[in-house]
Amino acid sequence: MKLYIAVGTAVLLVMAIFIIVFVAYYQQKQIRQQLILKEWQEKYRKGLLAATLQAQEHERRRIAQDLHDEIGTMLSVTKLSLNQLGRTVEHNDPGSTVLVQKTRSLLDETIANVRRISRDLVPTTLERFGLVSALEELAEKASNGEVHVELSCSDKMPTLLPQLDLTLFRIAQELINNAIKHANAENIIIDLHCQPTGILLSVIDDGRGFDLDEILKDKKRGLGLRNIESRLNVIDGHVTFDVEEGRGSRIHIQVKNLKPEVEVEVEAV
């Protein structure tokens, strides 16, 4: 009987130790697999996001190209025809000259608008002269009698990857647009600095601010802010919102000036 007890106890002990070792080993293995899976999912998500942004840029280019090459050309040809018509009308029906001139000025305005939209869709300055020039142009365009946009920038800005340039430009564009449209800001400062850790872009305004939590909670609003976060996610960047309702907002974007894992190819038009 005692022998049976000894054998039984030994068997139970071996089983207990086996169970403990198995649980520890299996759990650790599962955790490792889970981590790998999460990494893959994160990579896939980033890839998907990068592809979406790339497709968005391609689409913008296509529309800009169509506007410039097709509608722009057609409008120019129409203007030429109108000029010919104007000359004919001047001789036969001098009373219609005013109408022709009015149509010509409308046509000029339309051509200018098409060019502006086409240029806004594709930041050609960014591709030709880099981020600083593009931001200067953006500040200049956004400034008018009521709004003053100023760019403050490091003397020595390194050449950034095209993807990084485009991301920072689009973010600055979105933030300035928000400051003018939603916060009714009068003074906006774009601060671009190169730090040892990376590039810091800040957009500071004196508008009425906003409640970040409330905006992010509402799925219908805050699309632009979510878009900024998505863009930064692709290049491992960070955004800090120093905002409060009733006072101006300070939004800081920090990105590493390194070759990112996921690259978005930027094609020239």
Binding site: M1, K2, T9, L12, A16, I19, Q28
Partner: protein, 182 residues
Amino acid sequence: MLVFSFVISLIQIHDAAYRHNNTYLYNLNSLVEMSGFAAAYWIELKSRRNRTLIISGFVVYVLVFLYDFSWTNIAGVALGVQRIIMILYALLYFHYILTKMQIQNLLIHSMFWVSAGAIVHAAGTLFVFLFVKVTLGDLSSNGSYYLYITIVRTFSAFFYLVLLVSFWLRRREFRVTDRLTV
């Protein structure tokens, strides 16, 4: 549970020194251990199914304890059932660990060590108490009482050491949680 067990052990030593019967204290200690265990697993395992199993196990144990309790003898069946239920609780917790997959590093998780200690302690002493008449019933000088009681004490000591390590790990877990929530 540790404090109660410590007090019971002191009373056991006191009774033994005055040559009083102290075997009933083994039985009471078993009740304290099981109550502590059931409470610990009740707190850790929050699903309804698990809690039902914990309560059912505890109720079964209490019924067997009430039936088998004796002031003069070790309640072998109650202590044996206690060990079986301890093993069940530990297995329940292992199942929970493997299905939930929420613990990053199992080796520094306190409840894992509590369960591991419990399962080893229970497995090592289960048959000693289930066949208590054979193992601890023979008090003659050439009997096996001293051998088996030493085995029981060794496993108990090992278990309480593991519990102490788990306490230390638990404090660490609380500190980490506090740091994360502040």
